[in-house]
Symmetry: C2
Subunit: 194 residues, 2 copies
Amino acid sequence: MSKLIVYMSMSLDGFIAAADDGPGRGLGVGGEPLHAWLTDGNINPASFRPEYGVNAEIFGEMMASGAVITGRHTFEWAGEWGGDHHDGEPIFVLTRSEPVPAVRGNALYLTDLHSAVSQAKAAASDRNVMMHGGSSVQALLSVGLVDEFVITLVPILLGRGKSLFAEQPKTSRLRLVSSVEGVGVLHLRYDVLD
Amino acid sequence: MSKLIVYMSMSLDGFIAAADDGPGRGLGVGGEPLHAWLTDGNINPASFRPEYGVNAEIFGEMMASGAVITGRHTFEWAGEWGGDHHDGEPIFVLTRSEPVPAVRGNALYLTDLHSAVSQAKAAASDRNVMMHGGSSVQALLSVGLVDEFVITLVPILLGRGKSLFAEQPKTSRLRLVSSVEGVGVLHLRYDVLD
């Protein structure tokens, strides 16, 4: 069965972006170390494609997903990933604002969380759905729609920025499925139990 | 050389206590899972002394320290640890308020961070100094006095509570020294690089 897996790089102090994030600077000012694992120690440093080792395995897992869910900020600030996150797979963009923009390329804007997740899972069929986001992740978590987290924990304390988890109305119990050290980071996989 | 090592149990969303912490409930309301690793799966569940495995090793390391630094809230809300944290080692309690209370048992209240750390390291001699705290940890971190963190990462999202790191004026780079799975938790050791 298709699972919704949130993949995010997070500083030890919980930030997924340094301060002053915005269009073209989704990692904020000084937040580049969060994504260094995507380019460090690889064959092609500019590729954003780790080519060997644990980091490549995690990246490959994301790229094998059959659909993408993302928050609108993440999507638009990343230049809509040039219109295609990977392999032409459909992108479901969560937005709270109306009117919902028209479909663009592989992307569909949606306001209903449950509908977005069921459409994404249907599109992914027997593959998983990958998700990137900040407040959109919190929104899905709060209604029990996140199946798994893969947190790439980066050894830095950013001090301030955008939190992955921020304040939540409820406690969620997790189960540590695995922890694997990649170059410079730790990839933590958690099931969401409730 | 003596190192100052912060030992804290932290939820994946960065909390060291659930909401509404206070005297006699340092973990807040519903924060007990943060310390479950100290009692789960042990010979004597009431001991707060893991007796075997990785969790016991981490606990034993704390108990081998030659001095304790703590924040005043942590100290007082824990009932001053009955006057002795372990083995009669000296306890240096950081407080921002004047007048500084008189010495109580093994504990000394101090307002000067640098003085507290140098006194604790001198007392510990060739052993390390262990530290527990929240805002006091942030205070020492911000002036570069924390050498190492041992974060016991607990698989729970508390949603709200007291953050270990809160907002800091600067970024600190860390180095992951080791990550070891204990029963139900992950012990992460980081050097503070700057």
